[in-house]
Every structure is written in structure tokens, then in C-alpha cells.
Subunit: 427 residues, 2 copies
């Protein structure tokens, strides 16, 4: 994989709670997107606690390896907030109380009918030579400075304070500075994404061998997760690069065929929803082992009430009989986890609702409930679109826990529906 000469960046998230907690770091994602649009590539993300010497070592390491360093967090009023001090030490500058920072903070507090507390005065201590980045929402100002050819900015960790400061303060300033740096030219990057379902990573990998020629400035990424294998192409947004990425994307789609279910931000549930809407069809679902996950996913899509009629989660055999009319003799003869019951569930939910199509899942999510002939991961999916339009599929999912088997089962069911809808739309 070749690497473009480009501006490089590192984000540093500060706060011991980020080391201990499992929170989603949406800040670095936002910053990565904003920087990419300016031609700056995020190469490292670091998280460090509130320990001053740890923080100094992290800031120093970042200044050595990238040209743009963005710190978030640690700008509050408590003694745990030592980002200002860490930047001062890492860059050998002194901290001093800055009038502009104090004025901004005082004005903000006055709007709320308050005056600064003693500890809040700490927030106006800024490294010498740094510019203040005004905080339009909260009290803690940010700041930025240039040190040995690198740009460094420190911002609050709260997204609703950080985001406008990046857009309105940091980016214009960074881009103006980048134009003064002759040695590097910034090339904005774009990224295109395909989502595939139903085959393992190794198959996708094999299908795409040779897609990106050696020496290309475009990077191919293949990322597997329980519900999909995602393919990405990343490269320069300039005229030539963009054309090449679009060509490669077409080539990739041709190679992968109908396992590609969506592009960019699309999800399986949004694609199925679009197809149902286009064909003015409605859907009813009968779930057993997925326990409501298919309904949950379908209804994550805004506007899904136009095509989702109802979902029946029939965990007990009695519920399968009462809610779906699955004959007791079928349940007894074939067992609840069988193609016959999946077919009866799909037909039952369609017939008992006003929906155009019924979709069903029954299987063994584990860890209990398996028998020698019916192992954990055995799943049947049924689809019933009316007379002559019924089908079932058997799946055997290996090596996943209950959560993964539920996810993969829901994806398999929605993918069967997607394929049926595409075929129906072509008739």
C-alpha cells in the first residue's frame, strides 16, 4: 500500500475517565473528518489520563511524528485539568493569565448571571505566544500555537463546545498557516465505502486482488464485523484521484456483484426500507431467536412506519401457535427450529396482518437449547410474499456468542428480503 505525502495529524484525548470507561470517542471522528477535508490525514489517536508527566510525554511524542496535534479535554477549572500545564512544559513555554481569555469567560458567565469562581481563573492561564480560540458555548477557552513546524491546538472535551471551535476558529487558522508552509502541499482526501453481506472477509479479499495497482495513491481497506464486510477506497479528492476512485469503485462493485448491499452511510435496514417504499409494499416480521432485533433495526430508519406494519416476537411455542397460527403438529413433528416452522411463521404473520410480505427467523442463539442434530448457530429464515412466492433458507453460523448469532441471523433475514425485493422490482 503506498502512502501519499500529506499533512499528518494526531488527536490526543485527555482524561482518566476515558481510560477507564468504554465511551464512544466521537470527538476524534469529527476531527478526522474535518481535517481530511483540508487535506490533513489523521494517523494516530492517543488517550491519556490526567497525569501531568504522562501527558507531557504524549504531547512530545505527537509533536515529533505529525504536523498537526489536536488535544481535547483537560481544560476545565479543577486541579485535575492540567492540559494547559502539559502543553507549556512540552513546548518549554510559560503560562500566564490572558486578559482576552478572562474577558470571554466572564462575559459567558455574566449571560448566565454568574461571576467566575477562583478555580475558574485557572482557565485563563494560556501558554506564552499561543492564540486564544474563543469558546462560544462554555467557559473554557481553547488555544493554539505553532512549535518547531507543527501546529498544536487544545480544545474542550465536550462535543458541543469543541465542534463550533473547530469549525469557526481552528480550521480557518490552520488552513491559513498551512498555506505559509511551502514544503508540503495539502491534497484533500475522499473516501468511498461499499457494504457487503453473506460472505467472509477472505472471499472479499480474494475478489479484490489487483483492484488497486501497485504504486497507486489510493488505499483499499477491508474491514470485517459480525454483520458485514466493508470495503473502502481512500485517496486524493483532486480531479484525477477522484475519477480513479470512482472507476475502482465501479470495478469493485462489478467484481463483488450482489453481495454488495449498500454504499456510504447505507445500512441493510435503510436499503430494505427504500426498496419497500419504492414498490409500495409493507412488511410484517415474525421473530424467534432474534428476539426483536429485526424490528429494532427496521425501526431505526426514520419514516419506517410507512412500511413496517408489525412484528411478532414468538419466543414460546404457544405464542407461535396463538400469534402466527403455526400448527401444533408442525411444531411437534419438526421442532420449533426447522424450515417448516420458518415457512409457517412467515406465512402466518403475512396472512394475519395486512402486510404484502412476511419475514421470519427461527434458530438457536445459544448458549443453551442445542441438541446433537440442532447445534447452536442453526438458523432458518422464511419469506412469504403470497402464493408461489415463499422460500426458506438454512444458515449455520459458527463461532459466535448469542449476540453475534442474533446479529448475523437478522442480517441474513434482511438480506434475503433485499434480494427478493430486487428481483420483484425487475419483474
Amino acid at each position: 500500500m503506498s502512502k501519499m505525502k500529506s499533512w499528518t495529524a494526531e488527536t490526543i484525548a485527555i482524561g482518566s475517565e476515558l481510560l477507564l470507561g468504554g465511551r464512544l470517542d466521537t470527538n476524534s471522528l469529527f476531527i478526522a473528518d474535518q481535517l481530511a477535508a483540508c487535506g490533513v490525514e489523521l494517523r494516530y489517536k492517543t488517550t491519556v489520563g490526567d497525569d501531568l508527566s504522562d501527558m507531557v510525554s504524549v504531547v512530545k511524542a505527537a509533536l515529533r511524528r505529525v504536523r498537526v496535534v489536536i488535544l481535547t479535554g483537560g481544560l476545565g477549572p479543577t486541579i485535575d485539568d492540567v492540559t494547559r500545564e502539559a502543553v507549556a512544559r512540552a513546548t518549554g513555554r510559560r503560562l500566564s493569565r490572558r486578559k482576552a481569555a478572562l474577558d470571554g469567560m466572564t462575559a459567558r458567565l455574566a449571560e448566565w448571571g454568574r461571576t467566575p469562581t477562583t478555580s475558574q481563573f485557572r482557565q485563563a492561564m494560556i501558554p506564552a505566544g499561543a492564540d486564544i480560540l474563543a469558546n462560544p458555548v462554555g467557559t473554557a477557552p481553547g488555544f493554539s500555537l505553532v512549535w518547531k513546524g507543527a501546529y498544536l491546538a487544545a480544545l474542550p472535551g465536550v462535543p458541543r463546545e469543541m465542534e463550533p471551535m473547530v469549525r469557526d476558529g481552528l480550521l480557518p487558522q490552520l488552513q491559513a498557516w498551512m498555506r505559509t508552509q511551502k514544503r508540503l502541499s495539502a491534497s484533500p482526501m475522499i473516501r468511498r465505502v461499499l457494504h457487503t453481506s453473506g460472505v467472509p472477509e477472505s472471499i472479499v479479499d480474494q475478489a479484490l486482488v489487483g483492484l488497486v495497482p501497485a504504486g497507486s495513491t489510493i488505499q483499499l481497506g477491508i474491514f470485517a464485523s459480525p454483520m458485514e464486510v466493508m470495503v473502502s477506497l481512500t485517496g486524493p479528492a483532486g480531479a484525477e484521484g477522484a475519477v480513479t476512485i470512482e472507476q475502482m469503485l465501479r470495478d469493485a462493485k462489478a467484481r463483488l456483484g450482489d453481495i454488495v448491499y449498500g454504499e456510504e452511510e447505507e445500512t441493510m435496514e435503510s436499503v430494505v426500507g427504500r426498496l419497500l417504499n419504492e414498490q409500495k409494499l409493507t412488511l410484517a416480521v415474525a421473530e424467534s431467536c432474534t428476539g426483536g432485533l429485526i424490528g429494532h433495526r427496521l425501526t431505526q430508519v426514520p419514516g419506517s412506519s410507512t412500511y413496517v406494519d408489525r412484528v411478532a416476537v414468538t419466543y414460546s411455542n404457544r405464542a407461535k401457535f396463538e400469534m402466527l397460527g403455526v400448527p401444533v403438529v408442525v411444531l411437534d413433528r419438526h421442532g420449533a427450529v426447522s424450515a417448516e416452522v420458518a415457512a409457517a411463521m412467515a406465512r402466518g404473520i403475512r396472512e394475519r396482518s395486512s402486510a404484502s410480505v412476511g419475514l421470519s427467523v427461527t434458530g438457536i442463539a445459544g448458549p443453551g437449547g442445542a441438541t446433537e442434530r440442532k447445534p447452536v448457530g442453526l438458523v432458518y429464515v422464511g419469506l412469504d410474499g403470497g402464493p408461489g412466492e415463499a422460500m426458506t433458507r438454512e444458515f449455520r453460523f459458527h463461532g459466535g456468542d448469542r449476540t453475534v448469532i442474533k446479529q448475523r441471523s437478522s442480517q441474513a433475514a434482511l438480506d434475503l428480503l433485499r434480494r427478493w425485493l430486487i428481483k420483484k422490482g425487475q419483474e
Copy 2:
């Protein structure tokens, strides 16, 4: 906050998708907890893309600043997977194909009726002198080595593969090695966690003011997410420290009262499941705006089929009438999002099933569907446990998107059930 002398660690998450995507990094949280129990403190978390030279620089920096380095990801079969190569370069060792690694992989694939592909042979390339960490679930083996006084391990990024490898392979090995290192003594840390629901972070924060005295070696953490506010106490596991943590935990529980719904790994759905099991009660759920999320959450708990009878997701008014018997006149007069309909849904699902208790949710998850009198975030929860045991609650959730409102609605419904079950159990 005081800092104990202790073993220090860094996690390195590998994969360009982690830089670009906003995925929750649960791996480092799991590793932090496991290491803390051995007296190793996580001090840095780093994320780096699939670029070999970036990865080498990150591994070298980590080996300089901590004693334990845990890498996750980049062990797959594709050419993007360069963790093996990066560790080899950072430590100056050669890669060679290892028979034990190959045998483990071949055996795993044989269970699934497959043989290794050419690219999968790459997974058996291990740095010289490294020990193999067997992967009991997937095909990619991990490995560990000691380099200049530091312990380094490389593990798959998939949690269900990584977690057993940490527990069964890495930790016993690491602890054995730590005992041979005389210069540092390990002081095991423990962490205790409480989960609360129904109040904002600021209320929890206020309730716990003064819980941990100044100068204590114990750290209090308060972490807010859409469904809960989590409280943690972290400190030395030694006799005195552990006693203090348990005392503080009791104090915290007394201060927080019934907003605490669980401890440690407990979830709202597992707590509700335990209470239902203890009282030998069964549950039927009628969902509207949550779209199946309550069913999905309840059935995430292994063994939930003993108490979950059925779930009806009645997105359309017609489904509310047909599946639950909600009178058309009630729907017309009060609208689908009303206390009256929530009550009728809970009663309907209980009466039409054999379940002991019915739970219902109806609300406006947005972004569409709101009116002046019924804004996005207005949600009604109903519970019906039979004659004289029926109730509804109104919630107004502010400032969240569709996903967050679904999450908070499901949590509010399950919490109402939890409180009712606790009261019933005391009768």
C-alpha cells in the same frame, strides 16, 4: 489524586477503520479491567492505522514508556494485517512460520469443514522467540514476547476471540513473568461499579460529593451515557484498600437509593430477568416507538426464554387493534401516543398471552410524527400485572436523536418493571 507506584500498561488498537470509524472500543476497557486485577495500570491507549511504519513507531514508543504493551487487531490473513511484521521490526526479530500456530489454525478450520487458504498461512508467521497464544474461537493465533524488560502481547481485535485469550493465555503468563521481575512489586487494583437509571449525571455527582476524602488512594468515576449514569470506585485491592472501597460502595448505594439498578456486569435486562425468575413470573411486551428494542434487550440474556413469552411490535394502529385489542375509540380519542393507549396495550398483551405481566411503550421517537402538543421525546410506558396492578408513566426525553430516544424509552420501561417487581417481591 495520588498515584500509586505500579506496573504500567498501554493498549494499541490497530486498524485504519478505527481511525476513520466511530466504533466503541470495548477491547481496551476489558483489557484495562483484567490488567487492573493483576496490579497493572493502563496509562495510555493508542490507535494507529494499518501503515507499517506508523505501527512500528507506536510499538517502539510504547515499549519505552510502559512495562506491558497489549496490541489488538491486524492479525488477520490479508496484506493489510501487518501487526506481526510491525512487532518483528520494532523488536528487531525475524518472522518465521511456526508449526504450532499452523496446526491450531488448521484444526479450527477443519472443525468448520474448511482448509487454510494461501493467505491464511500468513497468520502462522510469528516473531522469533515469541510464545504462541492459542485462539480457541477463531483462526488467527496471538503471540507474546519479552523485550528489554517489557512484556508485549498481540491479540486479535475481535472481542469474542480476544477475551478468552486474555483470560486463559495472557494473564497467567503475564503474572508468572511479573513474579520473576524483582524490581517492581505489583499492587493489584480493584474496581467496583454501580449502575443508575432515571436521573442526570449532575444529580449523581451532587449526591456523591465528599464520598471519597481528599488524599485517598481511591478514585471515583462518574460516566454518563444515554441509558445510564455509571459510578466506579477504583483503588488498591490489598486488605485495607478493599475494605475502604467496600465501605464507600455501601455509602454510595445508601446515598443513591433506588436509582441504583445493578452492580458490576449487570444490565437492566439481566436484573429484570433475575427478578422475574425469582418470582416465577412471565412477561409479554407490546412495543410501539421502541420497535422491538425491548424484546431484543430482554432476549440478550441467556435463558430468557423461561420468562419472555412474547413481544408484539405494533407500529400501525391496525396492529394495535388486531394484536392487542386496543379499542379504536381509544386510539381515535386520545391518539396512539397517550397514557390511555399505553394502558390498553399493556392490558391487551397480558390478556391475550398467558404471561403474568404486560409491559408497553408508545411514544414519538422522531424526527417526524410530532405535533405541537405531542413533541418528539414524549413517551408513555404502561404496566399491567392484573386487576389493581396497572399503571402508566409519562416521560419527556429532550435532546436526543431517534436512537437515543428508543434507548431511553426501553430503559424507562424496564426500570418501571424492575421497581414493580421489587415491590411485589416484598409483599
